[in-house]
């Protein structure tokens, strides 16, 4: 198992480096950042001055290694827009996005696990079909539209939750709910198929033969085994969610990393865009690594690999 984990860790570092190179090239290849910063009215001399000030006149490779070296020391450059270190901008906004992601995955698991288990117990019945229909609906729902519907319904008509910004913890409820929709279909299907498989297995038959109650069989034996892969996938889904929070944060005006990224993209603030892409990629890579480790620890068959 140690060699498996080691190989996985090396792979994670390689993937991280590749994404780093990609995100750097991306922000340099498609346009001249200096032109974007200077704005349409700037003269050629202004642009040249900006280019020198931000070090954009140096060779691309030098810029890249400088950036990586500085990033490794925690210096992510300065924002063109805020005139402030990017690391500071991210530090103040990351907790909001991470909280939102955790609320989202919490909602998703709290909704998907019971429904998936119920569908498996009622396999093939109308209840099963209805629950799987919920998965299909969740998959087809445009997140930003659902957000607007919830804002109209719960925020404006019922006035249960705030519709904009973040004055207290209740501000996370609606955005978290919207975010959870992206993960619910996959988690529900996985729980259902895992439960169906578990319920047919030998240890469940043994438990039945021992005369254990149905509740004990379902909850203690089958659900525990079915839940393991769900936990691992939930970690990966959390990574996708943090990436998807850019849409949700801009609809709800939540001052998180996603909102920062959207603002920086529309105002050509490349150092911030680059740093957020890198940050989200690293978080995702870390979470998948964690998921793989969880799987390896939970599944004895993988340990030999």
């Amino acid at each position: 198992m140690r060699s498996f984990l080691l190989r996985r860790a090396v792979l994670a570092v390689l993937v991280g480096l590749t994404v780093l190179v990609l995100s750097f090239t991306l922000t340099r290849i498609a346009g001249d950042p200096a032109l974007a910063v200077a704005g349409p009215q700037a003269t050629a001399a202004d642009v040249a001055a900006i280019r020198t000030a931000y070090g954009l006149d140096r060779p691309m490779l030098t810029q890249f290694f400088d950036w990586v070296g500085a990033a490794a020391r925690g210096d992510l450059g300065r924002s063109y827009l805020y005139r402030e270190p990017v690391a500071n901008l991210i530090r103040t906004r990351l907790p909001i996005t991470v909280t939102l992601g955790l609320v989202g995955i919490g909602f998703a698991v709290a909704i998907a696990l019971p429904l998936g288990i119920l569908a498996a117990l009622r396999e093939g019945t109308l209840a099963d079909r209805a629950i799987m229909l919920v998965a299909l609906i969740g998959q087809a729902m445009p997140s930003f539209w659902l957000a607007l519907l919830l804002i109209i319904g719960f925020g404006l008509r019922l006035q249960w939750f705030p519709i904009q910004g973040l004055d207290g913890p209740e501000g996370y409820v609606l955005p978290g709910l919207v975010l959870s929709f992206s993960a619910i279909p996959a988690l529900m299907r996985l729980t259902r198929s895992g439960m169906i498989e578990a319920l047919r297995s030998d240890y469940i038959r043994t438990a039945r033969a021992k005369g254990l109650s149905r509740a004990s069989i379902v909850l203690k034996h089958a659900a525990r085994n079915a839940a393991m892969p769900v936990v691992a996938i939930a970690a990966v889904q959390l990574g996708f969610m943090l990436g998807g929070s850019i849409v949700i944060e801009s609809v709800f005006n939540l001052p998180g990393v996603g909102y920062l990224a959207w603002e920086s993209i529309s105002k050509n603030d490349f150092p911030v865009v680059q740093a957020v892409v890198m940050l989200l990629a690293i978080i995702y890579i870390g979470l998948t690594l964690l998921a793989d480790m969880l799987n390896a620890v939970l599944d004895p068959r993988l340990r030999a690999a």
Binding site: L11, L14, V15, G16, T18, V19, L22, S23, L26, T27, A30, G31, R129, L133, L136, I137, Q139, A140, M141, P142, S143, F144, W145, L148, L149, I152, L156, A186, R189, L190, S193, I233, F240, L242, G243, G244, I246, V247, S250, G258, A261, W262, I265, S266, N268, V273, V276, V277, L280, A281, Y284, I285, T288
Partner: protein
């Protein structure tokens, strides 16, 4: 009739109606989707109070006919969905088949590419690229196409691995067929049904992503009536006129649901297992 057939039929119906609307709709609706009429702004749909028969789905904040824009928007959604899925299908299938067929180093490289692609935050990078190059239909299609190939690659790879060892591939190789011939004429046709199922998912995903990009103002440029853009434009009026976001939103939701229902039906028909 089984419930399954019913849902597949519903999916086919929704997709069929949308395709017909996209093809001939603009010539049936008696209004121009771009013509502004500032005297008749935000006219509600015909079935609501103050609605008129002249504008069945009402008009938007610039007095443009909502039905005309909705129908034209179907064209944009379908065009982007299908073209993006074709682009990503080409990339993903090529990578997946090569990795699955040759194994070893080639496969390691393909798996590495897939892992890298999954680590790239999708919406963020799509937004950044569109904003850097400038928004247009082509840019959105290419950006989504270059980003959405991972599932094609994963499925093409695993199915090719299963097909590779079968007798007819060995027979073709023994008969002296070239590698290219084996890949194109023996492997590809036998994994095609899996790829069709993936394609339905990807068309649906591309349509949703285009709408999200356009909603954030970095997708299809105005005044083109993308459904996502229509929702964004209606957002400022939704508190008093909720129908302005309901009309394009329901259309978007229904189309994506329809494509997914159809995809599920095809999955059953082909006997393709669902990967979670």
């Amino acid at each position: 009739m089984r419930l399954r057939d019913l849902s597949t039929g519903l999916g086919a119906l929704i997709v069929g109606v949308t395709i017909v609307a996209a093809l001939i709709g603009p010539s049936l609706v008696p209004h121009d989707p771009f013509a502004q009429d500032l005297m008749h702004r935000l006219v509600p749909p015909a079935w609501m109070p103050n609605g008129t028969e002249a504008h069945l789905l009402g008009t938007d904040q610039l007095g443009r006919d909502y039905l005309a824009r909705l129908v034209y928007g179907a064209r944009i959604s379908l065009l982007i969905g299908v073209c993006a899925a074709l682009t990503s299908g080409l990339i993903g299938t090529t990578l997946g088949v090569l990795g699955g067929f040759f194994g070893g180093r080639v496969d390691d490289l393909v798996m590495f590419a897939i892992t890298c692609r999954l680590s790239v935050p999708l919406i963020l990078v799509a937004l950044a690229v569109v904003s850097l190059i400038g928004s247009s239909l082509t840019v959105v299609v290419l950006t989504l196409g270059l980003l959405l190939w991972d599932r094609f690659a994963v499925v093409a790879r695993t199915t090719t691995m299963q097909v590779r060892t079968l007798d007819y591939v060995a027979a073709a190789q023994a008969a002296g067929a070239s590698r290219a011939h084996v890949l194109l004429h023996e492997v590809l046709p036998n994994i095609a049904q899996h790829l069709v199922v993936v394609a339905t998912l990807e068309v649906a995903l591309a349509i949703l992503l285009e709408a999200a990009l356009s909603f954030l103002g970095l997708g299809v440029p105005a005044p083109l009536p993308s459904w996502g853009l229509m929702i964004a434009e209606g957002k400022d009026y939704m508190f008093f006129e909720p129908w302005v976001i309901m009309v394009p939103g329901v259309a978007l939701f229904a189309l994506v649901l329809g494509i997914n229902l159809l995809g599920d039906g095809l999955r059953d028909l082909f006997g393709v297992a669902r990967d979670a």
